[in-house]
C-alpha cells in the first residue's frame, strides 16, 4: 500500500474509538469523511484562544482570527492551484456553491431558450438549481447520457453542447465512482462557446486538483468530504467571471457602501460572502488542506486506485454473480466508491445487517434519482473508501456481507 494507513487511522479520533469492543469500519466517506484531530483541534483552538469576528476588528484576537481565515483562503487557493485568492468564495457547502452560480451567473446570463447541459449521473445538487432556473426562465436542459458501463456517453457531445451557454458536470460520480473526462468535455464545450462548471465534491477530496488544467470556469466542493468540518464549502471561479456577476445574498460584509437609496457591492471575494462567515469552519478547512497536502494528493489517489482494485477483486472473488457492482470495472477509471446490489436484498436490509457488524455503508438513492431510474433500480447500498481505509476494511465488508447472506438465507 502506498500510504501507511495504520498510522493515518491514528490521526482520526473516531476511527480509534471503541465500538462494542472493536473499531468502526467506516465506509461512508462519500457522504462525509471522518476528521483528523488536527482539524478538530484547529477549531477548538480558535474558539478557546482567539474567537472574534473577522475583518472589522482592530483588536488583537480579531486580527488573529482574520489572518487565520484569510490564511485558510490562501491554503485552499494553493491546494486547487487557483490563480488568485480573490477567486476563492466560501459558501456553506457545494450545494450552495452551485446555487450561487445558478442564481447569480444564471439569472444574469440565461434567457428563455438558452441551453444548459448536465449529465445523467449528476447529484441532485447539480440538477435542481438548474431546474429552478428553467422554471423561472424557460431555459432548456440537456443531459449527457450514461452508458451501461457507467461512463458518460460522449458520442454526440459536440451536438449536445452546440449552442449551450453552460455545461455543468460532476468530475466524479458519488454513485458509480466514475471519474469523468472533464478536460475533454471542457475543451469541446469551450469550442462551442459554453462555460464549464464542475461539481468537484467527490473529486477534490480524492484526486490532485488543478482548476486550470481541469479546464473549468467554476468549481464547487464541500469541506466535510475532504477531512474538513461541516458548514463550509468553496466556489472557485475565474476572477473576471466572478467580477462580472451580480451579488447573490445581500448583507453585512459584502458591501462597499449602503445608503437608504442603494448599495455598492464589495470587491471579490467578499462580494459573495454575506454576513458573518463560518470562521471556525473555514479555519478547520485550512487545517484539512494542510493535512491532505502533507500526505500528498497523488499518494491519496494512488492508494485509492489500489484499494479500488482490491475491493473489486475481493467482492467479485467471494460473491461472484451474487453481487452487482455498478460503475467502471477498471480501478484506474474510478474512485473507491462502490454502489452495489446483493442478491435480492434491499439496500436498507444490507446496511442494517452490516451495521450490526460494525460496518457503515449507506443505502438509498444517494441524491441521484435520475441516475437510479436510468439504472432501473430504486436504491443501492454504497461502500465508499478514503485514505484511512485499507484492505482489512474491505475484508470486514466482505465478511459482513457473507453474514447477511447467511442471515437472510441467500
Amino acid at each position: 500500500m502506498t500510504l501507511d494507513v495504520s498510522a493515518i487511522k491514528k490521526d482520526f479520533p473516531l476511527l480509534e474509538r471503541d465500538f462494542n469492543g472493536k473499531p468502526l469500519v467506516y465506509l461512508d466517506s462519500a457522504a462525509t469523511s471522518q476528521k483528523p484531530r488536527a482539524v478538530i483541534d484547529a477549531m477548538s483552538d480558535y474558539y478557546e484562544n482567539y474567537n472574534a469576528n473577522t475583518h472589522r476588528g482592530v483588536f488583537g484576537i480579531a486580527e488573529q482570527a482574520t489572518n487565520a481565515m484569510e490564511g485558510a483562503r490562501e491554503k485552499v487557493r494553493s491546494f486547487i492551484n487557483a490563480p488568485s485568492i480573490n477567486e476563492i468564495i466560501f459558501t456553506r457547502n457545494a450545494t450552495e456553491s452551485i446555487n450561487l452560480v445558478a442564481h447569480s451567473w444564471g439569472r444574469a446570463n440565461l434567457r428563455a431558450g438558452d441551453v444548459v447541459v448536465l449529465t445523467e449521473l449528476e447529484h441532485h445538487s447539480n440538477i435542481v438549481p438548474w431546474q429552478q432556473i428553467r422554471e423561472e426562465r424557460g431555459i432548456e436542459l440537456r443531459y449527457i447520457p450514461v452508458t451501461d458501463s457507467g461512463h458518460l456517453d460522449l458520442d454526440d457531445l459536440a451536438a449536445t453542447v452546440d449552442g449551450a451557454k453552460l455545461v455543468s458536470i460532476s468530475a466524479m460520480s458519488n454513485v458509480l465512482g466514475t471519474v469523468t473526462p472533464v478536460r475533454h468535455i471542457a475543451d469541446i464545450a469551450h469550442a462551442a462557446g459554453a462555460l464549464v462548471c464542475v461539481d468537484a465534491c467527490q473529486f477534490v477530496p480524492h484526486l490532485p486538483c488543478d482548476v486550470i488544467a481541469l479546464g473549468a470556469d467554476f468549481v464547487a466542493f464541500s469541506a466535510h468530504k475532504m477531512c474538513g468540518p461541516t458548514g463550509v464549502g468553496v466556489l472557485w471561479g475565474h476572477e473576471a467571471l466572478l467580477d462580472a456577476m451580480p451579488a447573490f445574498l445581500g448583507g453585512g460584509g459584502m458591501i462597499r457602501d449602503v445608503t437608504l437609496q442603494g448599495f455598492k457591492p464589495a470587491e471579490l471575494p467578499w462580494k459573495f460572502e454575506a454576513g458573518t462567515p463560518a470562521i471556525a469552519e473555514i479555519i478547520g478547512l485550512g487545517a484539512a488542506v494542510d493535512y491532505l497536502s502533507a500526505i500528498g494528493m497523488p499518494a491519496v489517489r494512488q492508494h485509492e486506485v489500489e484499494l479500488a482494485a482490491y475491493t473489486l477483486r475481493t467482492l467479485k472473488g467471494r460473491f461472484g454473480d451474487g453481487i452487482k457492482i455498478y460503475g467502471p470495472s477498471e480501478a484506474s477509471e474510478r474512485g473507491a466508491v462502490f454502489s452495489f446490489g446483493f442478491g435480492d436484498l434491499h439496500p436498507h436490509d444490507i446496511s442494517q445487517v452490516l451495521d450490526e457488524h460494525g460496518v457503515c455503508v449507506r443505502a438509498g438513492h444517494h441524491c441521484a434519482k435520475p441516475l437510479m431510474r436510468k439504472l432501473g433500480i430504486g436504491a443501492t447500498a454504497r461502500a465508499s473508501l478514503y485514505l484511512y481505509n485499507d484492505e482489512s476494511d474491505v475484508d470486514a465488508l466482505a465478511d459482513a456481507l457473507a453474514a447477511a447472506a447467511d442471515f437472510f438465507g441467500l
Binding site: 434491499h346 439496500p347 436498507h348 436490509d349 442494517q352 445487517v353 450490526e356 443505502a363 438509498g364 438513492h365 434519482k369 437510479m372 430504486g378 436504491a379 453474514a403 442471515f407 437472510f408
Partner: protein
Amino acid sequence: MPGLEDLYREIVLDHYRSPRNRGELPVPPSHRAEGFNPLCGDEIVVYVQVDGDTITDVKIGGQGCSISQSSASMMSAAIKGKTIHEARALTRAFKSMMSIHETALEGDDPEMAAANLAVKLGDLEALRGVARVPVRIKCATLSWNTLAQGLDEAEAEA
C-alpha cells in the same frame, strides 16, 4: 446477532419472503393510494375495496425493504374484513407502538394512548423491534399512512 433477530423476527421475514395479498384491484370500485419514502425511494401502492363500512378486499403493490414489505403484508392480512373504524384504530395502535419515544416526548393524551394499547396488534407485535431503529420507522409506517389516504378517499366518496 441478538439485535438483528429482534428486528427481523421470523414472522417478519416470512411476510417478506411470502407477501400476502400482493396484486391489484380494479379501480373503481376499489380505491388506490400511493405512498412514497423520499429518503430511500420505497414505494407502496394500497388498493382497498370498501362495502358499506367494511373493508372487503386489500391488495398491495410497489417495492421496498423487508420492513416496509412485511409491514404492508401483515397490515393487509390484519385489516381484511375489518370495518373502517377498526382499521383506523389498528393504525393508531400500530403507529403508537412505532413512535413510543416521540409519544412520550410530546406528551400525547394518555387516555388515547391507553385506548390504542387496548387494540390487539397480534402478529404486528413482531415489528416492535423497529421502534428502536428510528430511520426504519418510516419503512414500517409507510403502508399504514398510505392505507389512511385510501380510507379517507373511500369515506369521502361514500
